[in-house]
């Protein structure tokens, strides 16, 4: 555990990517199995303890320490593990056992022993060790190390391609003994069955036209609509079918009727959408389905879903990821020559110029797409976000002016700043009502100034939330707006972010709620 906590402490304070890679490689080479395997799982977010989660530690610290002082401290530090590790009093000499024996001990602990076991561990660790230990359970290490970097470090360590690790990653098991054996040339490459696992998806970069495509020939690309649903991977074979989300989480249970209807031997990539007969409805409609983990037949009938398929990874046992997109599209076209409902082919958009696509992506009379996707025809299916292959070109955002009402401190690297803002507009009664929350879109300099605004213009405090003078107007950009019963204003903005801060604009010039509804919802 000492080595692991040192690793985390070093990683969080290292900004150089190369230095991070070498710290990780050093750790993998100097740490024995199964410790390094558990560390790998922790670093890639693959550890999962059912009975110990963030809430477990929150309760624990509230029993030991004054709750109000804990709240103030947590608000200040912005990281649960760090707050608790600093507040906890070390009772015994630091004597932490190895990472694996700790985890194995907790796996064996009966429910009623769990609490005293965790207290015992915290009592005998230093502040840094407590921090690393708690981080194992609270999800998201927030140390500036993505699982991609960790896998890159593994690839460097074993002198293999990152791509090779990505391809088998989701079939590997804790504590990764076979993986390390392979990387150290002491064993064969772990064998993974294609149909047992999720395959990491290929992702797109946001398009910057001048930089990415101005010089490119439109003939070398295909275009499709960017559907406003959730990305899914369909893994189907004779034994059945599974649906995975973009992050590899299985979502099959929420869509039993789709699972049942799919027959075949393939891995497909597409967008899950709400609607009937391939007529997509809004994301909000899909949200209804996503919220239900085990939907009733009646609910399914009234909220049908389908999938627009745009890519294929495996077909009849053949790995197509090493084939160009043009060939993969041919496979899809021939498969979809007959009706495969609830699967439908995501049609390509015929185009000759970028200007034409620019117009298409902005047509806003139908709500179902959020722009276009542009994909290079010769591109292979590469896990991750390779450069220059796939681009997403979203519709231009909509804008609205609103007034800052509340602010809250951010987490992680923004923990000291008031960086989460609730903003609102006036309703018919000239009451200011919140219409959304934004966390991004400002520069570091602007954040410093916003933070100062919050500190000097606070009028009220509700725990960690500060209410501020209603004087500051911000221009908010957002992707979409819909009716919502959850908000007092009756509307909800999709992905709101700061566009501009109007330090000089008077609040009485801000559009009213009625005007917003009129211009965007009617």
């Amino acid at each position: 555990m000492k080595a692991f906590s040192n690793l985390l402490s070093d990683l969080i304070l290292t900004s150089s990517r190369n230095r991070k890679l070498s710290l990780l490689a050093e750790y993998f080479s100097s740490t024995p199995d199964p410790d390094r395997g558990y560390a790998l799982a922790a670093l890639t977010g693959s550890l999962n303890f059912k009975n110990i989660k963030a809430s477990f530690f929150k309760e624990l610290i509230k029993e030991k320490k004054d709750e109000y002082l804990f709240d103030l401290s947590y608000d200040y530090v912005g990281d649960l593990a760090e707050t608790i590790s600093l507040l906890w009093d070390q009772k015994k000499d630091a004597n932490m056992p190895s990472l694996s024996s700790l985890l194995e001990r907790l796996t064996r602990s009966k429910n009623e022993e769990l609490k005293s076991d965790v207290i015992d561990i915290l009592d005998m660790s230093t502040s840094d060790q407590r921090w690393a230990f708690i981080k194992l359970f609270t999800g998201g290490l927030r140390i500036g190390v993505s699982s991609r970097i960790v896998k890159q470090a593994l690839a460097n360590y074993g002198d293999v391609d990152l791509e090779q690790i990505e391809k088998i990653w989701h079939g590997l098991q804790l504590p990764y003994i076979d993986l390390f054996a392979w990387l150290e040339k002491k064993g064969p490459k772990p064998k993974i069955s294609v149909y047992d696992v999720f395959h990491p998806m290929m992702l797109a970069h946001p398009l910057v036209m001048e930089k990415d495509l101005t010089a490119a020939n439109p003939k070398d690309f295909v275009a499709e609509y960017k559907w406003d649903g959730i990305r899914v991977q369909i893994v189907s074979h004779s034994e059945g079918c599974r649906l995975y989300s973009r992050t590899g989480d299985e979502v099959s249970k929420s869509f039993p009727e789709i699972i049942k209807a799919i027959k075949g031997n393939f891995v497909l990539d597409g967008e899950l959408l709400a609607g009937n007969n391939a007529e997509p409805k809004t994301f909000n409609d899909l949200q209804q389905r996503l919220n239900k983990k085990a939907p009733s037949q009646k609910f399914i009938d009234t909220n049908p879903c389908f999938i627009k398929v745009y890519d294929v990874l495996f077909f009849d046992g053949i790995d197509l990821r090493d084939k160009p997109l043009s060939e993969r599209k041919k496979v899809l076209n021939s498969y979809f020559s007959s009706n495969r409902s609830p699967l439908f082919l995501s049609e390509t958009i015929e185009f000759e110029t970028w200007e034409f696509l620019d117009k298409i992506r902005d047509i806003s009379d139908n709500q179902v797409h959020e722009g276009v996707m542009i994909k290079s025809t010769p591109s292979l299916y590469i896990a991750g976000r390779p450069r220059g292959k796939w681009f997403k070109w979203k519709r231009n955002p909509k804008n609205v002016d609103a007034i800052i009402m509340y602010a809250q401190r951010g987490h992680g690297k923004r923990s000291s700043f008031y960086s989460d803002y609730t903003f609102g507009v006036f309703n018919k009664e000239r009451e200011l009502v919140p219409i959304g929350k934004a966390y991004s879109g400002f520069t570091d300099e602007e954040l410093t100034r916003l933070d100062k605004f919050v500190r000097t213009k606070s009028v009220n405090r509700f725990g960690p939330v500060r209410e501020v003078e209603k004087t500051l107007v911000v221009e908010i950009a957002f992707d979409d707006v819909s009716f919502s019963k959850r908000h007092k204003s009756g509307i909800a903005l999709r992905f709101p972010r700061f566009k501009r801060i109007r330090w000089d604009k008077p609040t009485n010039e801000v559009e009213t709620l009625e005007q917003i509804k009129k211009s965007f919802l009617e």
Binding site: I12, L13, K65, L72, S73, L86, W131, G144, S415
Partner: protein, 329 residues
């Protein structure tokens, strides 16, 4: 009763403590810029503080200086004023305002941990304690500074190719870091930023041994390999620091207790060394003074106010402006 208000103005004797604007009479607790300003007519402070003010602002930064040593008093009108060591920086003082009926202590910035290059802090019994709360949250528990210095030295010995740039305030913190390094036997030349030159000389003249100090000029970049450079925190990100190669950025401050803070400022070696009190020092001092009432000048006042009230002590935050939350001075 002594009439003191929330700007630390004592009406009976027309005197301010650490005012931010020029006044007739000021008592100055210590030489940091958020406490000591130029332009007052009459200043009362310790001899060291007056020297520091003259070094920083010039000989004529006040019309007259009246200095008293620790433990000594002057009578102004009906009020007896005594200065006690605050162990924050050289010359830093707590101010006791005393009449037959009442005792008020203004701590200024202070720490109670023993720091052998400064006079030790004394808790002064009083009715009203006016305290700082820079680190007024229970997460702030500072280790022995020697342990932090040891960690730094370990790192230096492992990375001899690097240049170790330590951010430390020019007055007080910089000299303390150098002094601590010397105490554990670090005898290598230490390089300093030009702005600290005179203040280091001043510490030296007071018998605080800082060893051989050299100015960090650019003549020979290789000179800085494996060396320690002490500079004000602002210089860490400034163009000034680009003259060095392979920099490892270190920062000596109580703020470095929080890893996420260190990460935000791109500090690779945080040195948790503070010239302020941590949570236990603040609360213990309040208890030791026996004060029935506490005013909190600046810092994280919410938590300390809450603690006071839970312990039956009346508490009120003054939220003195100009004392920047992120400024440790």
């Amino acid at each position: 009763m002594i009439s003191i208000d929330n700007k630390l103005y004592i009406k009976d004797i027309d005197t301010y403590i650490d005012p931010f604007f020029p006044v007739e009479r000021a008592i100055i607790t210590h030489g940091h810029a958020d406490h000591a300003r130029a332009g007052h007519k009459h200043v009362l402070c310790t001899p060291e503080t007056s020297e520091i003010m003259k070094i920083r602002y010039g000989e004529k930064c006040a019309n007259t200086f009246q200095t008293i040593k620790y433990g000594h008093s002057v009578k102004i009108g009906k009020i007896k004023v005594t200065l006690f060591p605050a162990a924050h920086i050289l010359g830093s003082a707590q101010v006791l305002l005393e009449t037959k009926k009442q005792r008020i202590v203004v701590t200024g910035d202070y720490k109670t941990t023993l720091d052998r290059h400064l006079d030790p802090f004394e808790a002064v019994p009083c009715d009203l304690l006016i305290t700082e709360a820079t680190f007024g949250l229970p997460i702030f528990k500072f280790n022995k500074p020697e342990l932090e210095i040891e960690r730094l030295l370990n790192n230096i010995s492992k990375n001899k190719e690097n240049t170790f740039l330590i951010g430390a305030y020019s007055l007080g913190k910089a000299q303390r870091i150098i002094w601590l390094l010397r105490e554990v036997g670090f005898s290598d030349d230490i390089f300093i930023h030009g702005s600290m030159d005179k203040l280091c000389d001043f510490y030296h003249s007071k018998g605080i041994k800082l060893g051989t100090l050299r100015k960090a000029t650019i003549e020979n970049k290789k000179d800085f390999k494996g060396k320690v450079i002490v500079a004000p925190p602002s210089a860490l990100k400034d163009r000034w620091s680009r003259r060095f190669e392979n920099i490892t950025r270190c920062y000596a401050s109580g703020w470095m207790q929080v890893k996420q803070r260190a990460k935000q400022s791109q500090i690779e070696i945080p040195l948790v060394i503070s010239d302020h009190s941590d949570w236990n020092e603040l609360t213990n001092t309040i208890k030791q003074t026996g004060a029935e009432k506490v005013w909190i000048t600046h810092g994280r006042e919410d938590a300390l106010k809450y603690w006071c009230e839970k312990n039956g002590i009346e508490a009120e935050p003054l939220s003195l402006q100009h004392r920047d939350e992120t400024n440790e001075q």
